[in-house]
Symmetry: C3
């Protein structure tokens, strides 16, 4: 301003104060609103209503050693990378959560199911090359040779890493599986619980 | 301004008018554009080109009682929660849509496939504990005890809830399945139809 | 300004220059920042941190003719529609990438696995109706009748279309599969490689 010379110098400070005040009154408040909205939009995925969160949700339906191992490897990997991970165990997959087996208080048919299903993740068959039960120890041997964690260790590791385990209540009811037979620290729910997690997830799998 | 005293009071109203006009000319238009763009970005999920819709899309490849039941439970649950649900039935999964079986107009090989495949969802085997055909009635009994819907009822229920059924035309061609053998009110298509729905979905599963 | 008449005309040009400069100093820089941020948010889907890209990522765990065929049909379809497609081949799925089989340098247990697994995608069983090995030629015949590509052709076609193949290094280690036995031009990695692709994908499947 002072370089321009034409304006009366004595007026300048008052003029600057006036202009500054008017600009601030009319503009700065709105600018700040806009900037904070923008920051929220950029930083916050929920600003985009249908945008997924950094989350993976798996249905584990199969109950074989190899399918369970694949599912838990993905879950452990995702949790290690900081993702929120949920696994919904249903049907044969419930075996992964089994810590014991009881026959008490079950109907005859439910006792038959209990008898035919494996005692827990340490006792599951393989989906191929099961060879009448020789497959699982054979693969355990191969995995040990490569220092790969066993399936029961993977089940425990995922839980330690904060992976959420949900046992399907409908499957438990049909097969007669009780809460006492399953791991501690897990959740129980139906398809709505699964869908609530899955609908917020980047990765959804059915294993 | 008037409190500051130093500026010639006579100038103030004209100065204020001048500054206001200049600020408005130079800033307000752009602010309004920005604010309306922001409002659109916040309110409209489609502003984010790759954001999924409230939609779930399943490939149902397996054709066993338990896998079909799991897939339909998820579909019915999602549709009940207001999601748009599509199921693309392919390979063994086509059995879920079968209402009858014909041998007419089929090649010898296609007749063999028809003979070996189940008549429909009421006749499918289980993926484990099939026990030479004893598994399905055994599980039907267990499900009835718990008031769980039968598989044929789930197929009908999902369709009533607006779940879109798409039969894979390539699988139909290879296996010799005709439209007359499948349910009414379903769509027919190939992988492109599946992908169009899946690419817009929060939840994508292969069962 | 000149129309209003009340302000001293001689002051106007200098006043306008002053006000313009002050407004520009205090506002225009921030407006430009906001506008470029907004443009990036609107035009670029990655601006939304968790928004998926136009991408599909599959885990292929199963190694049967029908499951592999379904997975590759989806991959070829998605690549044809311009999507980026990755397939992570693990466990039995590794067979799809096998071009030869060697026994050299393998432990006895790994030789047993090699012996029991198919030589490659042309030799895989079907998941149902395998009929002691009669299933695969039967389905190949049915597919030829309908001019459907064979499984080895689908494996080659997907690779030509730019589908990324990743062989699971942990599975290779456990089963004793070497890089020499697998196709050229593929990547090798663990679950972290899979998750990096999957977390950016619209479609995630476990086959």
């Amino acid at each position: 301003m002072s370089e321009q010379g034409a304006a009366p110098v004595g007026l300048s400070p008052e003029l600057e104060a006036l202009v500054t005040r008017l600009v601030d009154e009319r503009v700065q408040g709105r600018l700040q609103d806009i900037e904070s909205t923008l920051a929220a939009l950029k930083g916050d995925s929920t600003a985009c209503a249908n945008c997924p969160e950094d989350r993976a949700t798996l249905v584990v339906f199969s109950g074989e050693m190899d399918t369970l191992f694949a599912a838990l490897t993905i879950a452990v990997g995702a949790a290690s990378m900081g993702m929120q991970v949920s696994i919904f165990f249903t049907f044969w997959g419930l075996t992964a959560l089994r810590k014991s087996k009881t026959y008490e208080g079950k109907s005859t048919a439910q006792k038959m199911v209990a008898m035919m299903l494996p005692d827990g993740p340490a006792k599951v068959p393989t989906s191929r090359m099961n060879m009448g039960g020789l497959g699982p120890p054979f693969f355990k041997y191969l995995m040990q040779q490569r220092n790969v964690e066993s399936l029961p260790n993977m089940v425990a590791l995922a839980q330690e890493l904060g992976v959420r385990y949900v046992a399907c209540e409908m499957s438990m009811g049909v097969m007669g599986v009780t809460r006492e037979e399953l791991l501690d620290g897990i959740d129980y729910g139906g398809v709505a619980v699964y869908l609530a997690d899955a609908a917020r997830s980047k990765i959804t799998l059915f294993v």
